[in-house]
């Protein structure tokens, strides 16, 4: 017999009220933990995808769309820009790196990205098999693409026009897989990489039979979709976007600014969920309070008897506090488990949608705060019942029966 087993015994003796309190606390804590895990992982993942990219340059349109399509490959591109713009950018003294990407096709829902080797190097990728693409129509599969499609080195596939996986197949120009990337925990896991020339090639083939003059015209009109830019100096942040945006056909968007804007928009929903979780936790505290307080009446003889058996008032106080705390701890732990389970379920769903993967097996230091808040709620909720127990007039109670 000890304080924990004694208080747990009293909690078991009131299964309905105990379950209600546990449930409210678990739902509240679980919601907060789910938010922590999902938002935290999305933020860190988006941060990782955008690391080292200070500016995305593309066709005019929505800057957020430009970021979403150029960095995260989660939206349709805003359009194309002339290939000549890449050269101009690379020569700009504010630019350290300028990585051009050619977008627009997909395979089984995975984006096909035409990019040079510097794109792979930017993300520090390694190959789990094969090598980087060199010749046109060679492709490298991201980790997740290879794992999900089961296609490996030597496999052949045809891209589809468009990014929804529903466009016309470019069956006349199939790709050959020459490499598979190791897991990179970045957007590259979900991409099919090829050379920019391959993307041009596919689309030029698509135009049907042409004479040499047409081909030359097309070569002169070659375009890319976006250019990922890394600044050469802090001064570039002040100068470069203005320079680019003043050109009629180009637009520059800052990933830091646009993702912050995105999170501000999504943030309202997250705040609402957080407030809802807080209400649940307050309700749980009230439930703990009411459970302990109403039970005092039927327990007053138990408490008096405990005094006759040698318990001091302080120990009765401690017993009631322990009940509140045991309840809060159990509810919070249940909530943590629930939060991780929900995050894992959400992660499985997102993965099936070829979206950002979210894991339920990640732990965050903030979860300890959730635990601390839950214990605090349990403590506060049991203070008044504990005080009443402390004040039990043992002699008078026993004299009554």
């Amino acid at each position: 017999m000890n304080l924990a087993s004694l208080s747990a015994g009293y909690l078991r003796a009131r299964p309905l009220q105990t379950t209600l309190s546990l449930l409210l606390l678990a739902l509240g804590a679980g919601t907060i933990v789910t938010l922590l895990l999902v938002v935290g992982q999305l933020e860190s993942r988006m941060g990782r995808d955008a690391r080292g990219i200070d500016l995305v340059v593309g066709a005019k349109g929505s800057p957020m769309q430009l970021i979403l399509s150029g960095i995260y490959h989660a939206d349709a591109p805003t359009g194309n820009i002339p290939l000549a713009a890449v050269g101009t950018l690379q020569k700009n003294r504010f630019v350290r790196k300028a990585i051009p990407l050619a977008l627009g096709d997909s395979w089984k829902g995975y984006r096909i990205v035409g990019a040079g080797r510097e794109y792979l190097e930017h993300y520090g990728t390694e190959f789990s098999s094969g090598k980087a693409h060199e010749k046109p129509m060679e492709a490298v599969l991201g980790y997740e693409v290879a794992a999900r499609t089961g296609v490996g080195v030597g496999g052949r596939f045809a891209g589809a026009h468009g990014i929804g996986g529903e466009g016309n197949e470019h069956a006349e120009a199939p790709y050959t897989v020459v490499g598979v990337l190791a897991r990179n925990d970045s957007v590259l896991d979900r991409l099919v990489l090829t050379s920019i020339e391959s993307v041009w090639h596919v689309h030029e083939e698509h135009q049907g039979p042409q004479d040499e003059q047409d081909r030359k015209a097309m070569r002169d009109d070659r375009e890319v979709t976006v250019v990922l830019v890394q600044y050469a100096s802090p001064l570039a942040a002040a100068m470069l976007p203005r320079q680019i945006n003043s050109q009629s056909e180009l637009q520059a968007a800052s990933p830091a600014y646009e993702t912050a804007r995105l999170f501000r928009i999504v943030g309202a929903g997250i705040e609402a969920l957080r407030a809802f979780a807080a209400v649940l936790i307050v309700a749980a505290g009230l439930s703990v309070f009411i459970a302990l307080y109403t039970a005092l009446e039927e327990r007053r003889y138990d408490l008096a008897v405990m005094r006759t058996l040698g318990a001091s008032p302080a120990r009765l106080f401690g017993l009631l506090l322990a009940e509140g705390l045991v309840l809060a701890l159990a509810g919070a732990l249940l909530g943590l488990a629930l939060g991780h389970a929900l995050a894992a379920a959400l992660g499985a769903w997102l993965e099936a949608q070829q979206q950002y993967p979210v894991s339920g097996l990640v732990f965050r230091i903030e979860e300890l705060w959730v635990l601390a808040v839950a214990l605090g709620v349990g403590l506060v909720a049991s203070l008044i019942p504990a005080w009443r127990a402390y004040r039990t007039d043992v002699s008078r109670t026993l004299a009554q029966g």
Binding site: M1, G9, R12, A13, T308, L309, V394, L398, A399
Partner: protein
């Protein structure tokens, strides 16, 4: 021994107890008699250190109860006094064994299951150890309550109206249980009652 002098206590201004002098030798058996409201329960509660008398001196086995304060008085009670209440008040959701373990835990006594089993065995309810109080008969509950009162080997065993609402045979058994338990532990037994049926078991009586 127990020594009481010039004891007086009152509740809300009305006198509840007045006792000029009383002494009880260690190991003796006492019956405190008197009509309802004469202060029998008050005297037991004072002897147990549950209430502090308004005036007087109380010494129980060389311990001046008025000098013990707060949790030290509670600790003393847990180690030295066993109390059997009229309504028994076993903790309902704890098993019989856990009710006795509770007494050990709250008295901060070592938790020996051997002592629990011995106390239950001596009162003939060893086979009921795993039961809940409500699964027992009234007589069995009484035995468990006595076992709980003596599990910490108290020097003083107090019982408040142990025979009220019992028939003659049950009343006799209840008193015999208390006397037997007190004798095995060489404890001083003080029984407060208005029930004159139990007089013959006691050589010493205190009339209030």
């Amino acid at each position: 021994m127990i020594a009481v002098r010039n004891l007086a206590h009152s509740y809300d201004g009305s006198r509840a107890l007045a006792l000029a002098q009383w002494e009880a030798a260690a190991g003796s058996r006492w019956l405190v008699l008197g009509p309802s409201g004469c202060g029998k329960t008050t005297l037991l509660h004072i002897l147990a250190g549950l209430i502090r008398p308004a005036a007087g001196e109380v010494s129980v086995f060389q311990t001046d109860l008025l000098s013990l304060k707060g949790s030290r008085l509670d600790q003393w009670r847990g180690n030295n006094v066993g109390i059997v209440l009229q309504a028994l008040h076993l903790v309902p959701h704890l098993s019989v064994r856990d009710n006795l373990r509770l007494a050990q835990y709250l008295a901060r006594a070592p938790q020996h299951d051997a002592a629990v089993d011995e106390a239950l065995g001596a009162l003939g309810v060893a086979d009921k150890a795993a039961r809940r109080p409500h699964q027992l008969s009234q007589g069995e509950q009484q035995r468990v309550a006595v076992a709980r009162a003596v599990v910490n080997r108290p020097k003083l065993l107090l019982a408040d109206e142990p025979t009220a609402s019992l028939d003659d045979a049950a009343a006799a058994r209840a008193v015999e249980l208390l006397i037997g338990a007190a004798e095995r532990r060489q404890a001083t037994l003080v029984v407060a009652t208005h029930d004159s049926r139990v007089k013959r078991y006691f050589s010493n009586t205190l009339q209030l």
